[in-house]
């Protein structure tokens, strides 16, 4: 995602990772993450960079105030990718837990909004629990 062209010495951000998988629910996860980024609920960051162990992405994620993983289905690829890189204590949301069925879900603005709202609730719960 494009960053603001300014000093990066700022408070640690909330980072949002989506599985961005091939299935319809993966696309919804991706589009929800992009909307959360656009609405400044957090910064969408590159899950592939975690999988590829891109050092700048891994170290930035370790320093984040909060991390949210959004998975499209029960395979939990985003959660597993973060865990394999040593991340712990992050929030997690699974699109299929919201009643959407993998392979049978049309991608509509309402469904994306449903995931956005749920993601915000997860982030709010994390905030109440305090920093990681």
């Amino acid at each position: 995602m494009q960053q603001e062209d300014s000093c990066l010495c700022r408070p640690a951000p909330t980072l949002i990772f989506a599985c961005s998988g091939a299935a319809d629910t993966g696309e919804i996860a991706d589009r929800a993450a992009r909307r959360l980024h656009a609405e400044r609920a957090g910064v969408m960051y590159c899950l592939a960079g975690i999988g590829g162990r891109v050092s700048g992405i891994v170290k930035s994620t370790e320093a984040a105030a909060r991390v949210l993983a959004i998975d499209g289905c029960q395979l939990d690829c985003a959660r597993r990718t973060l865990e394999l890189a040593g991340m712990t204590g992050f929030g997690h949301l699974r699109v299929t837990d919201l009643g959407l069925i993998k392979g049978k879900t049309d991608i509509t603005p309402e469904r994306i909004q449903q995931v956005v709202d749920s993601a915000r609730a997860v982030l709010n719960d994390e905030q109440k629990e305090g920093p990681r």
């Binding site: 062209d5 000093c7 990066l8 910064v43 960051y45 050092s55 700048g56 170290k59 930035s60």
Partner: protein, 78 residues
């Protein structure tokens, strides 16, 4: 020769990280070159979301914080 790069646009935290890195390298009597990377596009080419960041031999070792001299000595000794 260790190649140390400090990513940051020049704020006090970035300067402190550069001081700490120099102190750690000197304490270990390392041969090193230290470069400050202040161009925001070049900083972002490392994939970091937060500065200051410490890069050793092309690998980001810390981002968004200022490790102590002792911590950087451990990083440089790896």
């Amino acid at each position: 020769m260790k190649k140390i790069e400090i990513l940051g646009t020049g704020c006090p935290k970035c300067l402190k990280l550069a001081d700490n890195a120099r102190g750690a390298a000197e304490a270990l009597k390392l041969q090193y070159e230290l470069r400050k990377v202040t161009d925001i596009q070049e900083i972002m080419s490392f994939g970091v979301m937060m500065t200051p960041a410490l890069v050793v031999d092309g690998i980001v070792k810390a981002a968004g914080k200022v490790p102590s001299v002792e911590d950087i000595k451990k990083i440089l000794a790896e």
